[in-house]
């Protein structure tokens, strides 16, 4: 089953064009409105790194639970994880924009602020970047190891590499749980350094899993429309939908639990976060966030028929892609740009990153047989039916 993907020139040109749009948008943005551009930079970086991390989590879960159904598609999450090295470089470049987005990097602010002084052993620039380096090193090394095992398995076969992958997935999942929680706290929660929420890390992680599993399903559907994955059947689609449905409910639960406890507790230092997100456009975004990321997927994907039909899945997935953007916009903008500005700059930078991400996923998919060989559960995946 040597079935390698080849990228059409049209796809390559499209991704280059999108990357070009992104570069131009950033260049113009830095000239005219640097602060807003850095906010865009942070948003897009976080958006795509959360997809890569969610995909890594998805792949690890498949190994740990010894899932049979997904064995055919494991190259797709692997390809998404290959974006991590790019993200690492981008997050290091964020150094130059620290002052535009993170309030706690300003010495004159910290020197007058008792709470920020108290937090400064954790929230300071050198330690911040030390964490970024350590996290990305751990993620990249572990994902490279897993990818190497996965490719070795194609050549050698047998159970050895599957068992090794399972063991390393267990390590990976613990590393991810701790590091990505701290990472989301660093990147998003510390935008408002006085505010804190213990739910925040869980919610951000679930958002990553939710959107990554929907993107995995989208890539599989697109590839199957190109004639790849001829053995994709309704049961596989139903399982992808289950991931989207499940993580959407967990995300909704975390989001609601975070809001309700803060609303009920009514402690000023906690509610301050929501008070200025409760005016004007942000109030619309607050409800749109819940409806897009939980309400619509929950209702649309509930019936058995729609949960196994591409016709229903594709619109929901596209909506979820907008949903992740909405959530990050709602988190980042009130803390950095303050005014709810949305224009060509936002669209252009997002398209640039989307182009880069598609290019990375596409080229990584071409590097190995699209359907893995010698995976112990491959036959079960092909026969999958319920």
């Amino acid at each position: 089953m040597e079935d390698r993907l080849t990228l059409s020139n049209k796809f390559k040109m499209l991704t280059y064009a999108l990357m070009g749009v992104g570069v131009v948008s950033f260049a113009l943005g830095f000239v005219f409105d640097a602060e807003r551009t850095w906010a865009n930079y942070l948003l897009n970086n976080y958006y795509f790194v959360s997809l890569a991390i969610g995909a890594a989590f998805f792949a690890a879960i498949q190994y740990i639970t010894q899932s049979g159904w997904s064995a055919m598609f494991k190259r797709v999450p692997e390809a998404m994880v290959a974006y991590l090295p790019f993200a690492a470089v981008f997050f290091l470049i964020l150094y130059f924009g620290m002052h535009s987005v993170f309030e706690w990097t300003h010495h004159e602010v910290v020197s007058h602020d008792h709470i920020l002084q108290h937090k400064s052993p954790y929230l300071n620039v050198p330690f911040f970047f030390a964490r970024v380096v350590v996290f990305f090193a751990a993620w990249i090394i572990l994902s490279k190891v897993l990818r190497k095992f996965s490719l070795k398995e194609d050549e050698v076969g047998g159970m050895l590499y599957f068992e090794k992958s399972e063991f390393y997935s267990k390590i990976f999942i613990f590393v991810l749980a701790l590091s990505f929680s701290l990472f989301s706290v660093d990147m998003l929660m510390s935008l408002e350094p006085h505010w804190f929420s213990t739910m925040f890390a869980g919610r951000s992680f679930m958002a990553g899993v939710l959107h990554a599993s929907s993107i995995i399903a989208l890539i599989v559907i697109i590839l199957s429309k190109q004639g790849k994955f001829p053995l994709l059947n309704h049961s596989h689609l139903h399982d992808f939908t289950r991931y989207i449905f499940m993580s959407s409910i967990v995300w909704g639960y975390f989001n609601f639990a975070e809001f309700m406890l803060i609303w009920y507790g009514n402690i000023p230092e906690e509610t301050s976060y929501f008070v200025h997100r409760w005016h004007g456009v942000y109030k619309i975004l607050f409800f749109a966030n819940i409806v897009i990321n939980w309400g619509i997927p929950f209702l649309v994907l509930m019936p058995r028929k729609s949960s196994r039909s591409k016709l229903f899945m594709i619109p929901v997935i596209i909506l979820l892609m907008i949903g992740q953007y909405t959530e990050l916009y709602y988190i980042i903008w009130p803390a950095t740009v303050h005014e709810a500005k949305f224009g060509l700059l936002e669209i252009g930078t997002f398209l640039g990153y989307a182009g880069l991400f598609s290019w990375v996923v596409g080229t990584t998919l071409t590097k190995a047989s699209l359907v893995p060989k010698n995976h112990p559960y491959l036959e079960e995946s092909i026969q999958h039916h319920f």
């Binding site: 609601f256 809001f259 309700m260 609303w263 009920y264 009514n266 509930m302 019936p303 058995r304 039916h385 319920f386």
Partner: protein, 165 residues
């Protein structure tokens, strides 16, 4: 029991499904199939489709609306009380109660609906077609009156794969 039935008893899933497919091609449908575990071919092949999922959805919808409505009515119209500086209509705090009570309502209502449709009630004497149907055998039940025209061919297919009792 006044009706007469033909039972096909099978030892494993493969022979059962084989016989089922052959009979289906002939246009003969069993009244009921008893299996130790769900068999997909039978589930999808049987002409009766369950509508209990739709019933459960609407129970859930109406239960959620009803409970939310009741809480809002009780807290803000019938007996408004100040507590903790909250508005009378403390909407976010109603949601947890609504979720839990909706699950209870769906469970009970679906259970009652199912029992009523399947004519099951506590203390009812069980209708057992075959002693081992509750054990490890696969049993297909045919209404003899319904297949009177080609009962011979049905019997031959059944004996080919299993046995008739």
């Amino acid at each position: 029991m006044s009706k007469k039935y033909i039972l096909g008893v099978f030892d494993d899933e493969a022979t059962l499904v084989d016989a089922f497919e052959k009979l289906k091609d002939k246009g003969v449908m069993p009244v009921e199939v008893y299996t130790p575990y769900p068999v997909h071919e039978i589930l999808e092949g049987m002409p009766i489709k369950t509508r209990i999922t739709h019933a459960a959805f609407f129970y859930g919808l109406f239960a959620a609306l009803g409970i939310l409505g009741f809480l809002t009515y009780a807290a803000s119209i019938s007996w408004p009380l100040h507590y903790g500086g909250k508005p009378f209509n403390a909407f976010p705090s109603f949601i947890v109660v609504t979720i839990v009570a909706t699950i209870l309502a769906i469970t009970l209502l679906t259970l009652f609906t199912f029992s009523a449709r399947a004519k099951i009630f506590p203390g009812k004497k069980a209708e057992i077609f075959h002693e081992q149907a509750t054990d490890d055998k696969f049993v297909m039940v045919f209404d003899e009156a319904g297949i009177a025209n080609d009962s011979e061919s049905v019997k031959s297919i059944l004996t080919e794969h299993g046995k008739i009792e």
